[in-house]
C-alpha cells in the first residue's frame, strides 16, 4: 500500500480569514475578464468555420460523371446504430448508360430524427457514396419532413471528386477486354 503522507495545512492569516482580500482578487479577475472582447459568434449571420472532417448531415453524392455512386449494398443500413437508414434496392435498366453498375437504390431514406451523426455509414461505404458533410442544422414541422429521401439526399450531397473511378475503369475493360473471343 502506498504510504499516505499527511500534509499540514498552513493556518490562515487574519486577512485570509476575513476573506476580504480574496473577494477583492476575485472582483479584479472578473473585471479584467469583463474588459476582454467577447468570443460569441453571431449565428446565423456569422457562420462557424466547418473543418474538413466535420460530421454533419449524412448525404449521398454523385461522381464527376453525374452517376449516383450508391449501389444500395445496404451496409450503411446494417451498420447504422439507431437504424436511421432504410434502403430499397433496385436494378439499373439494361439500356442505361451505367448498366454495368447493375444496382442502384430505388429508395433511400435517412430518418434525421434517429440519426446520431456517428459517421459509421460513411466509414463502412465501399463505394464512397455517403458522406457526412457540412450541414449541421436541420429542422422541420413534421416527422415525415425529417426523413430525407433519395432526392433530398442527392440535393444535399452534390458531386464530390472520385479518386478511384472504379466503375469507369470497369466499363473500359469490359468494352475492350473481351478481345480473346
Amino acid at each position: 500500500m502506498a504510504k499516505t503522507k499527511v500534509l499540514e495545512r498552513k493556518p490562515l492569516s487574519l486577512a485570509e480569514r476575513t476573506y476580504l482580500p480574496q473577494i477583492v482578487t476575485g472582483l479584479k479577475t472578473t473585471l479584467v475578464n469583463m474588459l476582454r472582447p467577447s468570443v460569441t459568434l453571431q449565428y446565423p449571420e456569422e457562420r462557424p468555420v466547418i473543418p474538413e472532417n466535420y460530421r454533419g448531415v449524412p448525404t449521398l453524392v454523385k461522381d464527376p460523371n453525374g452517376r449516383e455512386k450508391c449501389v444500395s449494398c445496404q451496409l450503411c443500413e446494417f451498420v447504422c446504430p439507431p437504424k436511421a437508414i432504410r434502403i430499397t434496392p433496385g436494378e439499373i435498366a439494361d439500356d442505361a448508360d451505367t448498366a454495368h453498375v447493375e444496382k442502384a437504390p430505388k429508395e433511400f431514406d435517412i430518418n434525421m430524427l434517429r440519426c446520431i451523426y456517428c459517421g459509421l455509414c460513411e466509414e463502412v461505404c465501399p463505394e464512397e457514396a455517403i458522406f457526412l458533410q457540412d450541414v449541421f442544422s436541420v429542422s422541420g414541422y413534421s416527422r415525415e419532413e425529417m426523413i430525407n429521401n433519395k432526392q433530398k439526399l442527392y440535393e444535399l450531397g452534390g458531386t464530390l471528386p472520385d479518386r478511384h473511378r472504379k466503375w469507369d475503369k470497369k466499363k473500359a475493360a469490359e468494352l475492350q477486354g473481351a478481345a480473346h473471343h
Binding site: 444500395s72 449494398c73 443500413e77 454495368h100 447493375e102 465501399p126 469490359e174
Partner: protein, 559 residues
C-alpha cells in the same frame, strides 16, 4: 436405420485427437461432424467428387509398417510412427480409413489455402457491394478466414461475360465464377438436364449453356443455392434484400406430398425467398423452383383479409356467430382439405363429430417428375387419414358432393380452402346452399359463400404435415399474419366449442398435440417439439397399403 445393425466405425486422428467415424465417410464431412472445418468449394455431399477447387488440401498420413514383417513401426515414445505424405492431399477425395492421421491446420495446409485463395481472387471482380451472394459467400468467408488480406496482383483482370440470363430464373456472372462445377454436376446428376458446361478452357474458362439450350428445368434454382460464390443468382431474389437482414425459419414446402424441408427468409414480416433445408430422408438439399415461388401467395392480390358475412365486412365475433347459424341443427357437409395441417384436421374432426356432418375431400393430383415433385399435390393427405377425418382415399373431384347437393341432402357447407366450382360442384348447387368458407385466398366459392373466414398461409401459422413416407414434419410461423386474422387453430376450436355450447379456449399446436397423441396410437408419445427439425417417421400400419397415387421419386418407393 435400425438400432440392431451396429455401424462399423473407423478411428481417425484429426489434428492429434482420435475420433470415430462411420466407415466410408468422406473426410470433409467427417471433419465437419466434429465441429472443425476443411474449407471447400467444389465438394458437395450430394454430388460426385471432382476435386477441382483445391481448397480442401490437408496433410495426411498412415501408420508406418515394416515392409518385411508388416509390424507397425514405433517411435521413441512407443507410439506408432506416422508416414506423412510428402505433399498435401485433397480432403474431398479422401475417405476415412483406420489409423489415418490428418492435419487440417498445419503451416503447410495454411500456406496451401492461402495460395489457393490468392489464385481464386486474382481475377475476381470487386463486386461485393452489388453481389447478392455477399453475406453468404464462401469466397468472402474463406478470404477472411484463410486469405492473405490484401492483393499483390497489379495486372489487368480477365474480363468475362456478366449479367447473362442462362435461364428464366437464373442469372450468371462469369467473372465471379470459380469453376467449381457444382452447377454442372447438379444439372447432370440430380436434375437430369445436362445443359451447363465450361468453354474456352484456360484463363478464360467460362460457364455457359449448351448451344440452343437454357437452364430452365424446375430445379434450376438449386444451382443458385449450391453456387459457393455469386456467379449464379436468382432472378426473383435479385437485388431484393441483403441476406444478413433476413431471418430464417424452418418450414415445409406445400407443393406436393414430398414435403420438402425449407427455410423461409423474411425481414420485418415480408418474405423474400424460400430455400431448401437439408433432410436426407426427405429432399436431400434440393427443392423445386415452383415450390419456392409459393411464398408469393402470402402477399397475393386475392388474399382474403377481412371477415365477411353476406359480402359485408364484419368482426370475427359476428362472422363466427353467422357460421354457427349455418353449422348448428342443419344437414351439414364439410369439405376438408389436405392442405390443412394435422392439428387443424384433428380439430375439424371434432366439429365433424359434434355436428354429425358428412365429410368430403378432393384428391389433388398432378404430373410427377420423379424427383421432388410427386403426383399428390397436397402436403397432408396422409394426415387426414391418420386423424380419421377420412377413412379411404378421396376421389379426384367433389362430384359426390355435387350429387348430394342436387339431391337436396345437405343444407349447409363448411368449406376449408377448397374451390368447389373448380372441383365439379355446379354454381346452381352452390347458390342454393348456405356456405361457410374458411381459406386464405378468394375464389369462386368464397365469392358465393355467406360467411368468409380468412385464414393464415403456411408461412404465418405453425403446425405439422405428414408426407408421402408418413413422416410427420413440423413447420413454424415465419411471419405474422395479416392484422386481425385469428389462426386456423383458434378459428376451428372456437367453432367446435361454440357448436356444443362450450367456452372456446385458445389452443396452440402444443395443446392440440396433447389431445392428438392420445387420440391415435400412431402419435403416441410424440409432441410438436418432439418432431424436431428433421421430422419423425410414423408407423401407419394398414394405411400404408392404400393405393396412393405417387410413383417412384427421389425418396419414395411404392410398395
Amino acid at each position: 436405420m435400425s438400432e440392431t445393425k451396429q455401424l462399423e466405425t473407423v478411428t481417425v486422428n484429426v489434428d492429434g485427437v482420435e475420433h470415430a467415424f462411420p466407415k466410408g465417410m468422406n473426410l470433409v464431412d467427417a471433419v465437419a461432424s466434429i465441429g472443425s472445418e476443411i474449407p471447400h468449394y467444389c465438394y458437395h455431399p450430394k454430388l460426385s467428387v471432382v476435386g477441382n477447387c483445391r481448397m480442401c488440401l490437408i496433410e495426411m498420413g498412415m501408420p508406418m509398417r515394416d515392409r518385411a514383417t508388416g509390424e507397425a513401426l514405433l517411435d521413441a515414445d512407443g507410439k506408432p510412427k506416422i508416414g506423412w505424405m510428402p505433399k498435401p492431399a485433397i480432403g474431398c477425395a479422401t475417405t476415412v480409413a483406420p489409423g489415418m492421421h490428418v492435419k487440417t491446420n498445419s503451416p503447410l495446409v495454411r500456406d496451401c489455402r492461402n495460395g489457393v485463395m490468392e489464385f481464386l481472387l486474382i481475377n475476381h471482380p470487386l463486386d461485393c457491394p452489388i453481389c447478392d451472394q455477399a453475406g453468404e459467400c464462401r469466397l468472402q468467408e474463406f478470404a477472411t478466414d484463410y486469405g492473405r488480406g490484401y492483393s499483390r496482383y497489379t495486372e489487368a483482370k480477365n474480363v468475362k461475360p456478366k449479367r447473362t440470363r442462362i435461364g428464366p430464373r437464373v442469372m450468371l456472372d462469369d467473372e465471379r465464377c470459380i469453376l467449381c462445377s457444382r452447377c454442372i454436376r447438379f444439372s447432370k446428376e440430380i436434375a437430369n438436364d445436362d445443359v451447363l458446361g465450361f468453354i474456352d478452357r484456360g484463363s478464360y474458362s467460362t460457364l455457359t449453356c449448351f448451344p440452343g439450350k437454357q437452364l430452365e428445368n424446375n430445379y434450376s434454382l438449386n444451382t443458385v443455392d449450391i453456387c459457393p460464390v455469386g456467379a449464379l443468382t436468382s432472378t426473383d431474389f435479385r437485388f431484393k434484400m441483403r441476406v444478413w437482414f433476413l431471418k430464417q425459419v424452418d418450414s415445409i414446402c406445400t407443393e406436393s406430398s414430398v414435403g420438402a424441408n425449407t427455410e423461409v427468409w423474411s425481414r420485418e414480416g415480408k418474405i423474400y425467398r424460400v430455400t431448401p433445408r437439408r433432410n436426407d430422408e426427405v429432399n436431400d438439399t434440393w427443392m423445386t423452383d415452383s415450390g419456392r415461388a409459393l411464398y408469393q401467395l402470402a402477399e397475393a392480390e386475392n388474399r382474403l383479409l377481412r371477415y365477411a358475412v353476406d359480402g359485408q365486412p364484419s368482426s370475427f365475433e359476428a362472422a363466427i356467430a353467422a357460421s354457427l347459424d349455418a353449422l348448428k341443427g342443419r344437414r351439414l357437409g364439410i369439405v376438408a382439405s389436405a392442405h390443412a395441417s394435422l392439428e387443424e384436421q384433428f380439430l375439424l374432426k371434432r366439429i365433424v363429430e359434434v355436428t354429425r356432418a358428412r365429410v368430403f375431400m378432393a384428391y389433388h393430383q398432378g404430373e410427377g417428375d420423379g424427383i421432388l415433385l410427386s403426383e399428390d399435390r397436397s402436403p397432408n393427405l396422409r394426415g387426414a387419414l391418420l386423424t380419421g377425418l377420412i377413412d379411404s382415399l378421396p376421389a379426384v373431384d367433389l362430384s359426390a358432393l355435387d350429387q348430394a347437393l342436387t339431391a337436396g341432402e345437405l343444407d349447409s357447407l363448411l368449406v376449408i380452402h377448397e374451390d368447389l366450382s373448380a372441383l365439379g360442384v355446379s354454381a346452381d348447387n352452390l347458390a342454393k346452399t348456405k356456405v361457410v368458407f374458411a381459406g386464405t385466398h378468394s375464389n369462386a366459392t368464397s365469392e358465393a359463400a355467406q360467411v368468409v373466414l380468412p385464414t393464415l398461409t403456411v408461412f404465418e401459422r405453425a403446425g405439422s404435415f405428414v408426407n408421402q413416407n408418413f413422416r410427420a414434419q413440423r413447420f413454424k410461423s415465419a411471419v405474422p399474419g395479416p392484422q386481425g386474422i385469428a389462426s386456423d387453430l383458434t378459428l376451428l376450436e372456437t367453432l367446435a366449442a361454440l357448436v356444443v355450447g362450450e367456452t372456446p379456449t385458445h389452443p396452440d399446436v402444443n395443446t392440440v398435440w396433447q389431445s392428438l397423441s392420445v387420440a391415435n396410437p400412431v402419435f403416441a408419445g410424440l409432441d410438436y417439439n418432439g418432431l424436431g427439425s428433421m421430422g419423425v417417421a410414423l408407423e401407419p400400419g394398414p394405411l400404408a397399403e392404400l393405393p396412393f397415387v405417387e410413383t417412384r421419386n427421389l425418396k419414395y418407393n411404392p410398395r
